[in-house]
Amino acid sequence: MDTSSPSPFVNGETLKIFVGRRVRTVVQVQRNEGGVLVGQSTDGHQLTIRGATDAPESPHYMEVIGIADSNQSIRAEVCTDFGENFDAGVFNGLCKLANETFKPLFL
């Protein structure tokens, strides 16, 4: 397994810790503003996703792997449509555990 470039799970809150690094998050697509996607993170923050190709429409959820540009924007490398039936609360719970209580267990 290549662990040289991990993509840690983040939500809107924990994105800011990883600015400039690769992250993985899930957003609910809200709108597409001329190629820049606006989505809501699982903890209710507004995030802008650049470079998302073949992005699904609102209200689909989408997984984004990419580089955190700032504390509320990501330059996407891989986007995956997660459909409408996605439990944001559970993902958010995972992000919290992965970045707080059980950080040592995660890359």
Partner: protein, 628 residues
């Protein structure tokens, strides 16, 4: 001597019970009545009438030194009236006074007050001597000193000075005993070592009459809870005859003076008040209504805990809670373990802590407060509900249930309710909340003890008298496809089908031993053996009719027909279920087959594995693991 005016009619007014008059009187004479105790008494005059006066211990020095003597003009600042010897004779016990003039000619032409019987509702102060017991006094001697002991009596304003019961001496033989209620003390200062006491409190709760049977026979009992102006709480219990005497007297919300009774350690499993004692009334007890009571005693005392705190509260904790009612479920009837039916209703409460909780109402609460809440919520209004004495439950997350001593108050007029209302109307309504009652998860994982397959064996489940009910997340790895069902009796007796095994006789008909009848057609019921597996191991499980059909999605008779007709659907049905994840609810119980004892796992319920629900369950488990 016109410079000093004695208070006109002071003697009469004071004897009539006016202890706030602070009259100016003249001392006619002073004498020492008990040298060893240094106790002095005399007569005082208002210019017309006189009355005997006893000076309290701390005033003795004034009399001894001659600062108070015949002719001295006094203002009586604090004093009480005392009956002497059980008769109508009354004296003033002076507790505090001011010498206005040391010496003065006798004013007016005072005469000794005729010892008329004054009405008995007059106030008196035998009880004011701060717990010092009034010694018995020979009945007919005015001159016998009232011995107060060596300690100086100290006048202490009681918490509620408006009520001072009249003493009533009954002459039982040579000892006269003050039968009057004792002075009122705060509930918090009650203890079993006090002889006479009275407390004054508002009834915050009243229980129903309960009947009991024990080794001593049967009887009845009821109790009520009192709250006083200092915030002290105590439970009062009455048995048998006293139930008849006091049950009708006591009303919730009214204020009573309760006097006499036995203090016993509080039975904490029934009594959740903040007091280590409870009162058991006896034949000498009195419970008297105070009709003119103002609002100095609150009608209820709460110790509200935010819902977020309930999350970390252990099972069976008793607490008070307040929140906005978000939803009310319909009333359902459920059967209790003893076979009786009871009502149940679940409401959802939310508060400022960002959490919500399920409150389970039982019995009468469902129809009383429950119906009212349901109507209100259906109108689109969200009432505030205060729960007094709720019990924390940890079935499926945390919830709070009512117990018999619980009280539910809808939109109570208290500060907490108003601020909650303000918060809710000012945006709290839309604030997101997280439920601490695991309501969103599937039914099977609620109320369930999760085990791994290996734990069933390792922990020796099912060995006790009662079966163990557990939930495992596992997949089916093998179905025994022979003898997966049996032929059963279709005979119905009332609503119940016989379902006993029927055998095909020589006549070609199906015969039932139990019903002693033959049938042309029989039913098929599952008796399906299957093997399950999770990461920890494998186990054999039996699925009967309902569970079998739930798992396979096909009835036993259809599957049996598929098999007979060599229909490919027979194999497909079973293959479709293999290696799928399920939440399986199992009944684990040791059973005896001949000489052999074996733990048998019976499938009670099957639920499709739901990743989101399972993730929630795992998150919940992790958070509890971290917390512990």
């Amino acid at each position: 001597m016109a410079a000093v005016r004695l208070t006109p009619n002071a003697v009469e007014a004071v004897l009539a019970g006016d202890v706030n008059l602070r009259p100016i009187v003249q001392v006619l004479d002073v004498r020492c009545v008990n040298v060893s105790a240094d106790r002095w008494r005399g007569n005082v005059s208002d210019g017309v009438n006189t009355v005997p006066a006893l000076f309290a211990g701390q005033l003795s020095a004034l009399a001894r030194s001659g600062a108070v003597r015949g002719g001295t003009i006094l203002q009586l600042d604090e004093y009480v009236i005392n009956n002497v010897g059980g008769g109508p004779r009354r004296i003033i016990v002076v507790l505090n006074m001011t010498v206005l003039r040391a010496e003065c000619d006798i004013i007016g032409n005072p005469t000794i007050t005729p010892e008329t019987r004054l009405p008995n509702q007059n106030h008196s102060g035998a009880e004011q001597f701060n717990g010092i017991r009034q010694p018995s006094v020979a009945a007919n001697s005015l001159n016998t000193p009232t011995m107060l002991g060596h300690q100086a009596p100290v006048f202490q304003p009681t918490a509620q000075p408006s009520y001072r019961p009249a003493p009533s001496y009954k002459n039982h033989g040579p000892i006269a005993k003050n039968e009057a209620p004792a002075r009122i003390i705060p509930i918090s200062s009650l203890n079993p070592y006090q002889g006479r006491w009275a407390i004054k409190g508002r009834v915050t709760a009243k229980g129903d009459i309960r009947r009991y049977h024990n080794a001593k026979g049967e009887g009845k009992v009821f109790n009520f809870d009192l709250l006083d102006s200092d915030g002290g709480e105590i439970r009062v219990t009455c048995f048998n005859d006293l139930v008849d005497r006091f049950y009708e007297v006591v009303e919730v919300g009214k204020v009573y003076v309760v006097s006499r009774g036995n203090l016993k350690p509080a039975q904490k499993n029934f009594n959740h008040l903040n007091n280590e004692w409870e009162i058991v009334l006896d034949n000498g007890s009195s419970v008297d209504l105070c009709p003119d009571e103002n609002s100095s005693i609150p009608s209820q005392r709460f110790n509200f805990r935010p819902i977020s705190e309930v999350e970390d509260t252990p099972n069976a904790t008793i607490l008070d809670m307040i929140g906005v009612v978000i939803s009310v479920s319909p009333c359902t009837t459920i059967q209790k373990k003893n076979g009786m039916e009871t009502q149940k209703r679940i409401i959802n409460l939310k508060d400022m802590s960002g959490r919500s909780v399920d409150v389970t109402m039982w019995g009468e609460f469902c129809n009383r407060e429950g119906s009212q809440l349901q109507e209100t919520v259906e109108r689109g209004v969200f009432p505030v509900l205060a729960v007094k004495t709720g019990r924390v439950n940890d079935f499926g997350g945390k919830s709070v249930g009512t117990i018999s001593s619980s009280q539910l108050l809808i939109d109570p007029d208290i500060v907490e309710a108003h601020s909650l209302r303000q918060w809710f109307d000012g945006g709290g309504r839309d604030a997101s909340t997280q439920s601490i009652s695991r309501d969103a998860t599937p039914a099977a994982s609620r109320n369930a003890i999760r085990k791994t397959v290996a734990q069933i064996k390792e922990e020796g489940l099912g060995m006790e008298d009662k079966p163990d009910w557990v939930t495992v997340k596992a997949s089916v790895i093998f179905f025994k496809n022979e003898n997966f069902c049996y032929t059963s009796c279709p005979n119905k007796e009332g609503d119940r089908q016989c379902n006993k095994k029927v055998t095909k006789g020589t006549s070609g008909l199906w015969y039932c031993d139990k019903c002693n009848r033959e049938f042309t057609e029989c039913d098929y019921r599952y008796l399906l053996q299957l093997q399950i597996q999770d990461h920890s191991g494998t186990a054999w499980v039996t699925a009967f009719q309902e569970a079998g059909q739930e798992l396979l999605g096909v009835s036993a008779s259809d599957l049996s027909r598929f098999k007979e007709e060599e229909d490919p659907r027979f194999a497909e049905t079973m293959l479709r279920c293999l290696f799928q994840d399920y939440l399986l609810r199992l009944k684990v119980k040791e059973e005896t087959y001949g000489d052999e004892r074996r733990v048998k796992n019976t499938l009670a319920k099957v639920e499709r594995f739901d990743p989101a629900g399972e993730s929630k369950y795992l998150l919940d488990t992790i958070s509890r693991l971290v917390a512990s």
